[in-house]
């Protein structure tokens, strides 16, 4: 029983660490209000 708990604990730690290192990280999910407009040529002024 103790061995099984230790094994489960090790697996949980491994999964947690892998999740923490996952590619891409996290991005806040606030809504975007606005957009980008090209700024070129005469529009620089």
């Amino acid at each position: 029983m103790s061995l099984l708990r230790r094994a489960l604990g090790a697996v949980a730690l491994g999964v947690g660490f892998a999740a923490a290192l996952r590619v891409g990280g996290f991005v806040s999910s606030e809504p975007r209000q606005g957009g980008w407009r090209d700024l070129h040529g005469p529009a620089y002024r």
Partner: protein, 329 residues
């Protein structure tokens, strides 16, 4: 190398140096390329229809030459000192805070020799400084400047990004420098597509020093870089794998707060492109500008350019387009 022939000597043949040499060669300038790896210099020389590849140091440069430094972080100050001892003008595309601080220390000697030195002529700082000046020119006074960057260029740039997240970041706040831990201060920044929203953190980058110098009355100046959770967790370890040869699309976003007609306003400009390629284009544009006497002697950042519009137009001609964010900031 013959001394003082009014040529452009590009030092470092990586992503940034290759692009800078290509832009200068396309402008009809006389270009020589230098690299500590002879094969790399020769490869670039062959790509550019046989511009001279020089192996070794800068002994042959002289007054009238422009040395464009596109080398690894940490090497800029020593090479700049060597070039300055021959009275050559210098463009540094480096983004390390330490490199830029050491370049700024060369100001008195550059003035004495009557040559211009440009510190931070790359993606950020560089394009970020031009956009900040352009935004500031729309305002009566500048209160705050905030820069965010996403993406990296070649392998050296990726290593520098990794190191920047483990160093000490400095913010300008209410008239003084505040030291902060790199990797702290998460902020969501909306970059132009295809980069989009990214979480950005404080980092040991040179933008704050150059922007504070250009806008000395501003109350706050900050710089952040986009990073993933893995970037932050592993920043204090050696890089776990070899950096990529090219980092894909990157982006810069510059937010300038100030007053116009008594009203508080914000101007947000940005640009998207491969950081290495954009940095090389900015460095080449700065080299051409210095050769044409557009900058006075001494050490300057690009935010000190009085009118950035011709600079941005020249960059646009080489595919570096900028955009304005319109919406709720």
């Amino acid at each position: 190398m013959t001394t003082g022939q009014g040529r452009y000597v590009v030092v470092g043949c990586g992503r940034v140096g290759s692009r800078a040499a290509a832009v200068l060669a396309a402008a009809g300038a006389e270009v020589a390329v230098v690299d500590r790896h002879p094969a790399r210099a020769q490869q670039l020389s062959d790509l550019l229809d046989g511009v001279p590849a020089v192996v070794g140091g800068l002994d042959g440069v002289g007054r009238g030459d422009v040395v464009v430094l596109c080398v690894t972080a940490g090497d800029h100050a020593a090479l700049a000192r060597a070039a300055l001892s021959h009275s050559a003008a210098i463009i540094s595309a480096g983004d390390s805070g330490t490199d830029v601080a050491r370049l700024l220390d060369l100001d008195a000697e550059a003035v004495e020799r009557g040559v211009a030195v440009v510190a931070g002529a790359g993606f950020t700082p560089g394009l970020s400084c031009l956009l900040a000046r352009h935004a500031a020119n729309l305002l009566d006074e500048v209160d705050e400047v905030h820069v965010a960057k996403a993406g990296t260029g070649g392998p050296d740039c990726a290593r520098q990004h990794h190191a920047a997240l483990s160093g000490v970041a400095i913010d300008w706040r209410e008239g003084g420098w505040v030291r902060r831990r790199s990797g702290s201060g998460r902020q969501l920044a909306y970059f132009a597509e295809p980069v989009g929203p990214r979480d950005c953190y404080r980092a040991d980058v040179a933008d704050t020093v150059l922007l504070q110098r250009a806008f000395p009355t501003s109350l706050r100046v900050t710089a952040r870089v986009a990073a993933t959770r893995r970037d932050r967790l592993t920043a204090r370890l050696p890089m776990l794998r070899q950096p990529h040869p090219e980092g894909g699309p990157g982006a810069v976003r510059v937010e300038v707060w100030g007053r116009r007609g008594g009203q508080r306003e914000v101007v947000v400009y940005g640009s998207v492109g491969p950081p290495g390629s954009v940095a090389g284009t900015v460095a080449a544009s700065a080299a051409l500008a210095v050769a044409h006497g557009e900058l006075p002697s001494g050490v300057h950042g690009l935010a000190e350019v009085a009118d950035p519009v011709p600079w941005l137009a020249r960059l646009e001609a080489h595919g570096v387009r900028s955009a304005s964010f319109e919406g709720v900031v």
